[in-house]
Amino acid sequence: MSIHGGIGQSLPRKEDARFIRGKGNYVDDIQLAGMLYLDFVRSPYAHAKITAIHSEEALKIPGVLAVITGKDLDAAKLAWMPTLMSDTQMVLPVDTVKFQGQEVAGVVAENRYAAADGAAAVQVDYDPLPVVTDPIKALQPDSPLVRPEKEKKSNHIWHWETGDRPGTDALLAKSDVVVHQDLYIPRINVSSIETCGCVATFDTMGRLTMYMTTQAPHAIRTVFALVSGLPEQSIRVISPDIGGGFGGKVPVYPGYVVAIVAALKTGHPVKWVETRMNNLMSSSFARDYHISADIGATKDGKLTALKVKTIADHGYADAAANPSKFPAGLFHIITGSYPFQKAFVEVDGVYTNKPPGGIAYRCSFRVTEAVFTIERLVDEIARKVGMDPADFRMKNFIPPEAFPYKSALGWTYDSGNYGGALKLAQQMIDYAGLRKEQAEKRKKGELMGIGISSFTEIVGAGPSAQFDILGLKMFDSAEIRIHPTGKVMARFGTKNQGQGHETTYAQILATELGIPAENISVEEGDTDTAPYGLGTYASRSTPTSGAAAAVAARRIRAKAQKIAAHLLEVSPDDLEWKDYKFQVKGVPEKSKTMADVAFAAYTNPAPGVEPGLEAIDYYDPPNMTYPFGSYICVVDIDKGTGQVHVRRFVAVDDCGTIINPMIVDGQIHGGLNMGLAPALYEQITYDEEGNIRGNSFLDYLVPTAVESPHWETGKTTTPSPHHPFGAKGVGESATVGAPAAIVNAIVDALSPYGVTHIDIPVYPWKVWQILHDHGVT
């Protein structure tokens, strides 16, 4: 017996009805009476003293109403704001700019064009200062100081380490085989197709409504209250439809704050929407990790120890979006799918004259950096030991019977069957056949490579003992109201940005409540109506709010059983929940549906039972969840151009219980594209003066349908033992797992020439250079 739209069905998405008609409601679609537009004057320098800002010409332009500078904000003590990592960043500079493209002054006007004209007409006088963009140079004693206003006169922000340093050193020294590898994981930009923006408006009672592109509306409301001094109940944050988030819409950017100030100053609603160039030069940056790693194994191919040293380039402020206790995020998932005896990781955060970085790029807090590193290193040590990379992984995987498994760096993995996923991937792609083909092609001098990545993720942040953002514990919530007619309104503390929550949350409730999904409406994103939660990122919605939905629904069911017993004139103990109904045990024809119970809850309450049928749950997960999978990629390389062609890519994922197979596959496809992108195409670079090289989609190469392979997917299912219905989260697995599979395939193709690593993105010229050096091309 199934219920319409229950867990496990590929239910078509509820939200699509508006999106396919162009009736989505994104921030830039909001039009309010008397609304003004905000644009910014931006710094042409990466580091400079501002000596004067001349607004007169701008204010002469018809339609320009105000110019807001750092000095204006400073008077209200709003020139600086806290970052999510308890650092500080500028809203607008009072006297110094720290990166190219930084907001220098806000211009408010009647329409977008006048605002842009006004921003172009503001004249700013600068005295350029020395610039540092390389974090290694930034750590040298003679480096220019990025944050001289700080007490610590150094560009070093923090040092973080975990694991057993002497034990790891000793074991590496004893290991038969050790591989050392340096890897650079470049700065990239999430480039959701919708940029960031907001509309700020005050009502006559002084209450602020903030429509904004945020993945975490409740947390933002609390931060605004703490920073501005406005009473928290006088702030309403509404996150409407979001055109992609991927972590870029977690932080607070200066534009949001200046829009609020401008609305206060003008008495009008104020809209700010970034242009793409603004976005690519000032917000939504991820990664920028300089990694140096050593991995050891015995001569017969058993992994022993792992040691990793990392320089983390944060730009001019540590505005990363990580849990407070973990300045390097969950980078210590780096032992991956393997039972290392010893491991040690250290990370040093560094300031440079770049915009703040460290958001996630569709990833759970630095998990991609970790997975890319371990999966690259495992390939290299397998090669050195002389084993096939698949056989090497099979030999080393944490075995299924070892779960729950405590990793060398202290995480307790909930469940896994790593060999099962790799085996399925090998079958799907015909691994043995490919190796044969490769051997034949090598004889003919053709370049074909096969790459594997067997990743373990850590998502679903997180247990309150370890996880908080600015002190706010990372639980999440669900509130269910069953109306008298048996229809449901459910609200959540998370926030959909394309993941399909309106559909999948309804599916969870359909299964738990026995009410068809079509009768269940899901709402998120309005802090006036939704229960408090920390929002959607790090694949946390299903592990936290999804779990809360099940717990709250089960609470409703317990109450409903008493009401059903009253209606059937039996004791609650005589009833069982079967086939989505309360049935009298042994007398299945005597039964009541949840809709029957709901009507009674409002019209015929059971004696001693509170009327109504509602529940709320704030779910504090007992552990993280650990999705995993094995990906296999086949590449062909053009010897003449160095162009890499991804011929096939098979992704086998295990995200525990699957709520909607169609949506899970869609999430995997999209994640794979965001794994392909940094592996082959995307990178944000700066010259020595801090000029950004390429801040449009002309230079920042988001893959099109032509470069993107026809992704193939497979599944194994290993439920999470601690989640109420066994789900783990899936939105980011593929972004995390894919890059190593692609790079491993390229290195495999080039290994006959002694190649052991190529830094991403693997542009054709890098490959061509190698081929050229070996006289191949």
């Binding site: 078509p12 998405r13 939200e15 699509d16 999106f19 396919i20 008609r21 162009g22 009736k23 989505g24 994104y26 830039d28 039009q31 309010l32 009476a33 008397g34 609304m35 018809p62 339609g63 009647e110 329409n111 977008r112 064009y113 006048a114 999430v190 480039s191 959701s192 197709i193 919708e194 439809d241 979001i242 055109g243 992609g244 242009t275 793409r276 160039m277 940005q497 394309g498 993941q499 399909g500 169609m662 949506i663 596959d665 869609g666 995997i668 496809h669 999209g670 794979l672 594209n673 965001m674 449009s696 989609f697 002309l698 988001v702 099109t704 349908a705 032509v706 993107s708 026809h710 992704w711």
Partner: protein, 175 residues
Amino acid sequence: MASTAIPRLTAPLPIRGATRKIHVTINDVPFDMAVEDRTLLVHFLRDVLGMTGTHIGCDTTHCGACTVLLDDRPVKSCTVLAVQADGRKVRTVEGLEVGGKLNPVQEGFAAEHGLHCGFCTPGMMMTSVALLAKNPNPSEEEIRRAISGNLCRCTGYVNIVKAIQHAAKASGGGP
């Protein structure tokens, strides 16, 4: 003449610069309006007429979120001036559903999960409509090439290809 089907702006865009009168037919509804010379077609649609289904994703004609049909040809409306639409026909995502009947492309995108966040979807669908009008039975490669001017960050394109194949089949083309 403004259609009642189109939401009226509560605060019309103030016109400050030189203007020109244009006659443009949008989704079969004729409009005679004065627009500032430099107004982009996408801002005319969104900010003047309040038709917000057409989106803006970049400033440089790369992302295709703003794709509309101009005399049945897909164009990026962020790189067309409203005055260039004078005397011509524009079709936007709001004009795909006719008389309560969805276009097969709209049905295909919903049926095959060809969208996640929905932001690139209107532009992607307009390009798809133009492709199928020209080539009712495109191969996967032809589809991928046709939509290569429309960026999607969420879906990885596999299901967008399927959505267009679904529409081709429903329209009588396709395998």
